[in-house]
Symmetry: D2
Subunit: 347 residues, 4 copies
């Protein structure tokens, strides 16, 4: 079968022929229809320090996908909950189920997590093997949307953690694809005011298309000042930090109201200076680090939003390429004009 | 000044001239513009067992209102947070602030609660005195809507308690005014499916006008069966029991999904038989008794919904009368054709 | 191997020779050392309506046990987290992992739950097969204590659900083994006052041995009156209803304070009359139906309590019998003088 | 009356004669028996940048105290909940009750907070005036212990926020008086392992006296390494950062387990560098800034702990001085040998 492979340490990827995946007794084999290209795939393409420290080539890349079940292992068949032909997506974090985080509702923090396309073969291929327990039927959600339930799930996790979104004010700081999804999720969840910021005017357009009430550009707007104006001088209930920049952190803490919450998803590449006394302690803030998706309460809320159409990610889905078009896909992401980029593998 | 008074034990009320209220050092005097008529006022009009056991006539009736601040006590003036001329409403539960429920975030369950129009003089009058801490500026909300923030707050309390409304399925059982408000609140809070039931077709119309996706009439529909169909056989995440009927309780428990929640607001007039093993324990249900409004987190969420227009109660506001029209107001409530009834006192 | 079997519909059980269990690829085979006898086993012995409606004989009985891993399926071996020779216990609810309760943190309410000793072969036998994900290493906990982590877990679930036990007042209503365990769990979790009630003086002795500050006998004490005295007239923060009697429900609701919580574990055999207006709504109570153990946050807290000795169930462990002594074991449970009864299978 | 006064900007304080406080209609006048000396009082004595920026001398200092009610304002008398002669303490944060934090359960973050001894006259005096709603009857708690319910409350707030202390592992980083209290609170609340660290051996002694299972001194111990050993390599469930040092922050984040919590009370005097990706986001940590006490759920839990003796702060109460001994009191705090220091004003 075809697969997009990192053949050896170093930049780039190649489409090559690889053997079909072998499935275990509780696994399913999925024919991939669509896949999403993520910033992580860009790091892997470029072979940055993180990628060099973690990946063991040769490896098939890709962790966002949807497809059709082709075959099931004997115990997955016996279970009877999934069957060949089902349209599905899958949670890409494969976890041990035995460690303390797994045992206490934080499987997304499993100490033995193996991520598809990072720690084992991934989804930019004609077929992928997944444990049956990671597989979720699309149940009417279009497969090209099912293909991006991983990053949409990141957005849902970031917005919903800490509850109380209905009637609240939300500030989405950073409008890459996940930030834009977060705008739509906050609207679907009943936020009363959604403010979004980014340096890139094209991304602010996408944020508005997803329902942002107000967009701010730090290059021309006094972001914190405007947020204080919009909130009667008090600040924002929930800040979603999606930029990963130290300047973003400073704005996030300054924009949050006393007793507010800052959920941090954007992963910075360097340390940040924090004035804990002024910005966290005296304000009584709660900070929460977001990684992955809660398994599977995040997915459940997301599926409801997608099935009813309360949340529609399509305005953010700006580009589509065939598997062989990966270099162009990486290109449009790097030049900052893309929202979400989809690979049509067998779509 | 004019006041609608229960002059002595027994049915009925009269408009009569009474002295202006005297205010304490931390009180405010409010000129009443609009007031809402509640089912409780109907019990008081009819002088049922509850009313006879609790009220000490002569008493001015009415607990839902909005108005304009006329005067402030000297310490309320000094505080500087409210001023003459402000359009306001007020929480009608006056609490001690010292008992354990007050001290632990449950002021609405204060063991010394005194309710205006029930335990002390109320709002169906030209003026009312209120402690400054109970008063909330309308901040742009229209006064006729401000007048019903008490029952809207009941609906917000019922729907939001237990969190997790975004993406959830909600069943509103009983579509009196608070049930209809609850439909709108559930939609504003991001519910994915809102089902409403009532025996009265006129009320089901109002529920649809407030955004119910599906309405059911127990006289013709298999309510629990239809809810199972709508939820893949599983049942509803959150049931709001607003009817107070034993038949409603049975449907509520049967309609809730395993691990679901039943918030009970409708106050039954007789005991209910409950099969705790089948309906509560083996299903892992959570039941919660709703009284009043959380002071003041409920009001805060409600104000946000009202100011942004995410929630608009006006379709339910079907009738308006002057203070002297109280008998007609009581009449339209009793005959079941009214939604919310407003008294225009100085509107 | 030996197994205690319900051979056919009807009362009684027999020890007989049965084939060794077959294990799947992700299962483990466990040599049973100790097992606990539960009230459920009594219902099965007596073949009451519940048992007759649910069990499909022939079936090996028993769901509480600890033992030593004898063998692992190939994928469980590969996983490397469990190994032959490990002392372990196991969660007896085998769940699907795919239904909405499973996917949203309520695996104990899985719609496809299969319980060992009820829906599939159980633990009153020399060996039992279990899915690796249900197995928990004892990690230094004595195996005879490991054998009763199922009912201790019921107690932990009942006491900890709803949080806030530190500094709270707790009323344990019903002092069978799980009630007595609940007394000890409430003490370990920092409750300030633990009151326990039962009609059986022997059980009240056990409750005192587990740390109850006050014990009450409804046959001689005014239970609700005494609880009001002990709580400044207000009532109890958390009531754990472990009796399953309608009289227990009435006391539970009357004993709870405004804003309090009633967690219901005792399964009544008939419906109860509830005055929802007086007892639940106006008091703002939360009721919660307890079934099984939260998988696996309950187990995690329990293991910590057991390993540190903060909680020690041994005063309640009053009787031990060999597998062949099942009839005596059932006998001491029926006559009400036993606490927890253990079968020494290979101990 | 006597009062310990900061007469003018600059270091030091003086005991001088000042007029008796005037009380408002809902205030009470309290004769002070005991008062606690806090690190904040040291900052005020030394007139550091914070003190110079906030205090407006002349001002009576002191915010921790207990005493006897001498007189009540007319509306506080009418309320009937407090009376002359009652032994009481008081919450020292006087809040507006109207701002969003006040209205949503975060009165301790009121945007108009006025602290006694900082923003208005304090408790190092023969008498103090307090709003009745801030006053709490001691109800049997000894007045010298009642005098330190402010810092004990800080410890309770830090330990209990985020729940789930029963059965958890807790690391108290910094063993000044509040850190030592936190050790005792964690034990009272059912923690399974309490580790405490400080550079000062005398403070580690106090931590052991309060119940720390393990004490570590960063000058000789590998703190994070030892914590990993004690927790099976995983890290701590709840870190209470009481030191305010950047080195403490680094240890706090490194010591917390994936999915753990860091509650920050120690107020640093300079910014800290944080690696959010490694330390917060990938670990899924929750950070929470602790200021003051939750009004009044913190006080409620604390009163229960103190009344039952589950928590006893006396080992930490190392020194007592008369009001005139303030200079010695400040001296023993500065030289690091004191735990909690008490002023006996009329004790």
């Amino acid at each position: 079968m075809r697969a997009l492979v990192k053949p050896a340490p170093g930049p780039g990827m190649v489409v090559r022929d690889v053997p079909m995946p072998v499935i275990g007794s509780q696994d399913v084999l999925i024919r991939v229809l669509y896949a999403g290209v993520c910033g992580t795939d860009l790091h892997i393409w470029e072979w940055d320090a993180w990628a060099a420290g973690r990946l063991k080539p040769p490896l098939t890349i890709g962790h966002e996908f949807a497809g059709r079940i082709e075959k099931l292992g004997p115990e997955a068949v016996a279970e009877g909950l999934l069957k060949a032909g089902d349209l599905v997506t899958a949670e890409g974090h494969i976890i041990c189920g035995h460690c303390l985080p797994c045992r206490t509702g934080n499987g997304h923090l499993c100490v033995r997590t193996r991520i598809i396309g990072v720690d084992r073969d991934g989804a930019f291929a004609d077929y992928i093997a997944m444990p049956a327990s990671n597989v979720m039927p699309l149940d009417g959600i279009a497969p090209e949307i099912g293909a991006i339930m991983d990053p949409v799930g990141n957005a849902v996790h970031t917005v919903l953690e800490g509850g109380d979104v209905p009637g609240s004010t939300v500030f989405i700081l950073g409008c890459g694809p996940i930030g834009c999804f977060a705008v739509g999720v906050a609207r679907a969840a009943g936020a009363s005011l959604v403010v979004a910021s980014d340096l890139n005017p094209r991304r602010l357009e996408l944020a508005r298309a997803m329902g942002a009430h107000v967009t701010l550009n730090p290059s021309t707007d006094d972001v914190v000042g405007r947020i204080k104006e919009l909130t009667g001088g008090l600040g924002i209930d929930l800040v979603c930090e999606m930029s990963g920049h130290p300047a973003g952190h400073a704005q996030a803490f300054a924009a949050a109201r006393p007793g507010g919450r800052v959920n941090l998803l954007g992963t910075p590449s360097c340390p940040t200076e924090v004035d804990f006394a002024r910005d966290v302690i005296f304000k009584g803030l709660t900070l929460y680090g977001v990684t992955g998706r809660k398994m599977y309460s995040t997915s459940h809320a997301m599926q409801r939003f997608l099935k009813t159409g309360q949340f529609d990610p399509r305005p953010v889905m700006t580009h589509r390429f065939p598997l062989e078009g990966i270099e162009q896909a990486i290109g449009v992401i790097k030049d900052g004009q893309a929202g979400k980029v989809i690979l049509e593998i067998d779509g």
